[in-house]
């Protein structure tokens, strides 16, 4: 009952929220930034909220998406749809790569591995500066108009136009993700989150499902990165460093849950906080640190039900060592 009400609210709230956002914020550009990160939150939430996997590697897929789109646009001269496709698909590929290794471990080791891989990709991006531009970044990322049938072109050069474009993609991503969550596949992810041992005992190939979750997450996060590059006109190391992974994670934790409003809220909170605070206190990440400490110790209930359960859950009884390693 509560669920249906929430879903209806989501559907109605969607166009309203997205229409209002640019007027609540100082500029269309900042609203676009929120939307782009909200898509990344969707990707992170699929892993964290639905599958129960805490990944410190979301920045990898975001950065790969950004660089891929940037490369496709600036070096290969491809159009925007191709840029986005490149970003999303390469993000997915990176996720499959990282996932294939990280999933071999559970719990803490898994988290550790995602962090280690985040470092790997950062160093690779830093090292191969012929491709990525290193510290300077991949500059001149274009925002080419989209060719429409009939000879016309959709010009996304202006901030409002790009905002509308991103908002449309966000809606697409959100409802696409919802469909996945509501499928048998989605219900299995929840089962894995709830009791992985039981899920395996009942016959699910847990590894396969986790890997698929990674793939979806990479796809979404890569798409977000691919939007970020033409948004700024540049793809830099900050899109792929650990700070980005942290930021996405924090947005997801704050926003929580599977609601549209939640993913927007988390991104909104972080973007606004960082831009507002950084104006007069460059060390504002310290507050984020305190926030994390507070969240983990106090586990706010209610709104973020799944988070609370995740934070307070004890190790499952009847857990047997995994014979398959």
């Amino acid at each position: 009952m509560r669920d249906t009400a929430l879903r209806a609210a989501d559907l109605l709230a969607a166009p309203i929220l997205l229409a209002v956002l640019p007027f609540v914020l100082p500029s269309y550009d900042q609203a676009t930034e929120v939307i782009v990160f909200a898509i990344a939150v969707l990707g992170c939430n699929l892993l964290l909220g639905y599958t129960g996997l805490l990944s410190f590697g979301q920045g990898i897929f975001f950065g790969v998406g950004a660089y891929a789109a940037g490369y496709a646009g600036s070096q290969l001269g491809l159009g925007l749809p191709a840029m986005l496709a490149a970003g999303a698909l390469l993000g997915m590929a990176a996720a499959l790569f990282v996932g294939a290794f990280a999933i071999r471990q559970r719990g803490v080791y898994f988290v550790m591995l995602t962090l280690a891989f985040a470092q790997l990709f950062y160093f690779l991006a830093y090292t191969y500066r012929d491709v990525t531009g290193g510290d300077n970044g991949m500059t001149d990322v274009p925002r080419p108009p989209i060719a429409l049938p009939g000879g016309a072109a959709l010009d996304l050069g202006s901030a409002p136009a790009f905002y509308v474009f991103c908002a449309a993609l966000f809606l697409l991503a959100f409802f696409g993700l919802r469909r996945v969550i509501d499928s048998p596949f989605g219900s299995t992810l929840v089962a894995i989150r709830e009791n992985e041992t039981r899920a395996a005992a009942v016959g699910y190939s847990v590894r396969g499902f986790k890997l698929a979750a990674f793939a979806f997450s990479g796809l979404l996060t890569g798409l977000a990165g691919a939007l970020h590059a033409p948004f700024l006109g540049i793809a830099t190391l900050t899109t792929i460093d650990v700070t980005m992974s942290q930021a996405i994670l924090i947005m997801t934790l704050i926003g929580g849950g599977g609601t549209l409003a939640g993913s927007l809220a988390g991104a909104l909170f972080y973007v606004v906080l960082s831009s507002w605070l950084s104006a007069f206190w460059p060390r504002w990440p310290m507050l984020i640190g305190f926030l994390l400490v507070a969240i983990s110790l106090c586990a706010p209930g209610g709104l973020w039900g799944w988070l609370q359960n995740a934070l307070l859950s004890r190790r499952q009884p009847g857990e047997v060592r995994d014979a398959a390693g």
Binding site: R179, P184, F185, S187, E194, A201, V202, S205, V320
Partner: protein, 260 residues
């Protein structure tokens, strides 16, 4: 599922040869040869530390053996992971209740039913409701377990006895050939026991059941065959009457008359 009784009478549902598992220097299970005939209730009993649970985990695939082989319906499954064995027709319950506690009773059963529907379980673009078969199986089991009114409650909120019943229910949801039940009555109150006994007896009509149990009342009344374990080895095997009078078995239980 009626099977050709004559043809299957010779082919054991489970056959282990020299099955062993050690942890460092500790030999939890040593050299166990077990044959479970199809459509029978085969109980495994023994004092604590006899290796029953380890044997179970070996059969289910949650643990890999250090020596020996396991064959399921004539097929070697020794190296097969637990999730795969489910698809061959093996389902297990846990001694310490392990359900999807936050999910509803119905969803627990539905998930268990869905798991064996390989391709359809992985479908990510159709809504869950489209997988009606799993939902139907869940509803059928709810009726069979008498839990229809509990269907929408989180599984973790059920009374202990009901949770134990649900554990068995989840096994049945996979429509297996073999049920591995690990102390299904563990912690159940005396009033709930008859319900469980009837459930197992009912299940035994269409399935092979391997049971670990401490409750002798249940073991002696529903088992077709009993294997007694002690210190990781098979001590004795036979029918209920044979086991009841077996001197080694009585000694293993310290002659407390626990078998009477």
């Amino acid at each position: 599922m009626p099977q050709a009784e004559a043809a299957s009478r010779d082919a054991p549902m489970i056959e282990t040869r020299g099955l062993s598992r050690r942890f460092g220097d500790f030999h939890a299970v040593s050299d166990v040869d077990l044959r479970v005939a199809p459509n029978q209730v085969h109980s495994v009993i023994g004092p604590n530390g006899a290796g029953k649970s380890t044997l179970f985990n070996l059969l289910a695939g949650a643990l890999a053996p250090t020596r020996g082989t396991i064959a399921f319906a004539g097929r070697d499954v020794t190296r097969l992971p637990d999730a795969e064995r489910v698809h061959l027709g093996m389902a297990r319950s846990f001694q310490i209740t392990s359900l999807f506690a936050q999910l509803t009773v119905r969803e627990n059963l539905r998930l268990a039913a869905q798991a064996v529907m390989r391709g359809r379980a992985a479908c990510f673009w159709k809504p869950v409701a489209s997988l009606g078969e799993a939902a139907d199986i869940a509803d059928g089991l709810l009726a069979r377990l008498g839990m229809q009114r509990l269907a929408g409650l989180p599984a973790g909120t059920l009374a202990h006895g009901q949770q134990r019943m649900l554990e068995v229910g989840m096994c049945l949801a996979a429509r297996p050939r073999l049920l591995l039940l690990d102390e299904p009555t563990s912690g159940m109150g005396v009033d709930d026991l008859p319900m469980m006994r009837e459930l197992i007896r009912d299940a035994a009509r269409d399935h092979t059941v391997v049971l670990i149990e401490h409750n002798m009342g249940i073991v002696l009344t529903i088992s077709d065959r009993i294997t007694v374990m002690a210190q990781g080895r098979v001590l004795a095997e036979g029918t209920a009457d044979q086991i009841r009078g077996h001197p080694d078995v009585q000694r293993a239980y310290l002659g407390t008359g626990a078998l009477s």
